[in-house]
């Protein structure tokens, strides 16, 4: 499945708006400026997902995984390096977490942060595309990428290709860099593209 230039342009613009809302939410949470890089949009066969994500995520990660459902359904993830997650906890709680194992309270902070950021991002999708998205309770994974990817639950029958949308963000004055990733199966991707085209036509 290949996106036309127009489709990719419209999708990237929508994602840009959604991720900007996410950065604003993170800035409100931390009280610091958050910079966001241009989002990347790519389609990968599902069996190459691990390899594709491994290109930019190495080692142990802290990821918040939220399943969303509705006319467009899939998996949304906030991924942070383990060290970056600890720094973020320090910023949000004002307490020193250090570089050791994350305690239960710290895990809870990262989980709620993921919930806020992923909702901010996908909520923009829902609003702009006029579809209602329902969110699952967020789950925190503290493990290597492989194990986390085993938990993706997009409909098995459509698990042939996945749309990977990711961007990196950085909280100014800190070393926290993170990734926002949305994985959609083919059926949802088709519906998303259709909705994005309508949205682009209305706003052209």
């Amino acid at each position: 499945m290949i996106l036309s230039d127009e489709q990719k342009d419209a999708l990237t613009e929508l994602i840009n708006i959604a991720f900007s809302r996410t950065a604003a939410a993170l800035s409100d949470l931390t009280g610091q400026r958050v910079s966001l890089n241009v989002p990347n949009v790519a389609i990968h066969p599902i069996e190459e997902l691990n390899t594709a994500l491994s290109e930019f995520i190495i080692g142990e990660i802290a990821s918040v995984h939220q399943i969303f459902s509705g006319p467009v359904s899939g998996d949304a993830m906030l991924m942070l390096s383990y060290e970056g997650a600890n720094v973020l906890i320090d910023i949000l709680t004002g307490e020193r977490q250090g570089s050791g194992r994350m305690d239960v309270s710290g895990q809870e902070v990262i989980m709620e942060t993921g919930n806020i950021l992923l909702n901010a991002c996908l909520g923009v999708f829902g609003n702009l595309l006029k579809v209602h998205v329902t969110f699952s309770v967020p789950r925190l994974h503290l493990e290597e990428l492989n194990s986390m990817l085993d938990t993706l639950v997009i409909g098995k029958e459509e698990l042939r290709y996945a749309l990977i949308i990711y961007t990196t963000f950085q909280i100014k004055e800190s070393s926290v860099t993170g990734y926002l990733i949305i994985v959609l199966g083919v059926a949802s991707l088709d519906r998303l593209i259709h909705a994005v085209e309508e949205w682009a036509q209305i706003n052209a």
Binding site: A25, E108, E112, N115, L118, N119, G126, N127, F135
Partner: protein
């Protein structure tokens, strides 16, 4: 000053909400899920409930429905990370006095609380 019950499964969000509301002089009660929240509402009769939506166990909309069954005059403000317009419509239709989005900001929380309490 009012007695306000916070129902949210996130300790971080409960803490942030508590800080904002206590600074404004309100008395705070907390519940970490919907079932406990309904019990506390029944026992403590708060003036206002701040209610999360996406929680493990009961979803916030189900909690809102039960609260309104127990007490049709229950005053509830939904505090959620969900920014969708359709969610706002569902919450309002279900009888909530307002909706505020997370992350919680004092300038959004306090006017909503004042409006709900004066309603």
């Amino acid at each position: 000053m009012a007695k306000i019950l916070i129902i949210d499964d996130s300790a971080l969000s409960r803490r942030m909400m508590r800080v904002i509301l206590e600074r404004a002089g309100h008395e705070i009660l907390e519940a970490a899920d919907g079932i406990i929240g309904l019990e506390r509402y029944f026992l403590d009769k708060p003036d206002l409930v701040m209610l999360d939506l996406t929680m493990s166990g009961m979803h916030g909309l189900d909690v809102l429905e039960k609260l309104r069954e127990m007490d049709p005059a229950a005053r509830v403000i939904v505090a959620t990370a969900d920014i969708q317009s359709s969610t706002r419509t569902m919450v309002t239709t279900s009888g909530a006095k307002g909706l505020i989005n997370k992350p919680l900001l004092e300038e959004a929380v306090l006017p909503a609380v004042t409006a709900a309490l004066n309603d």
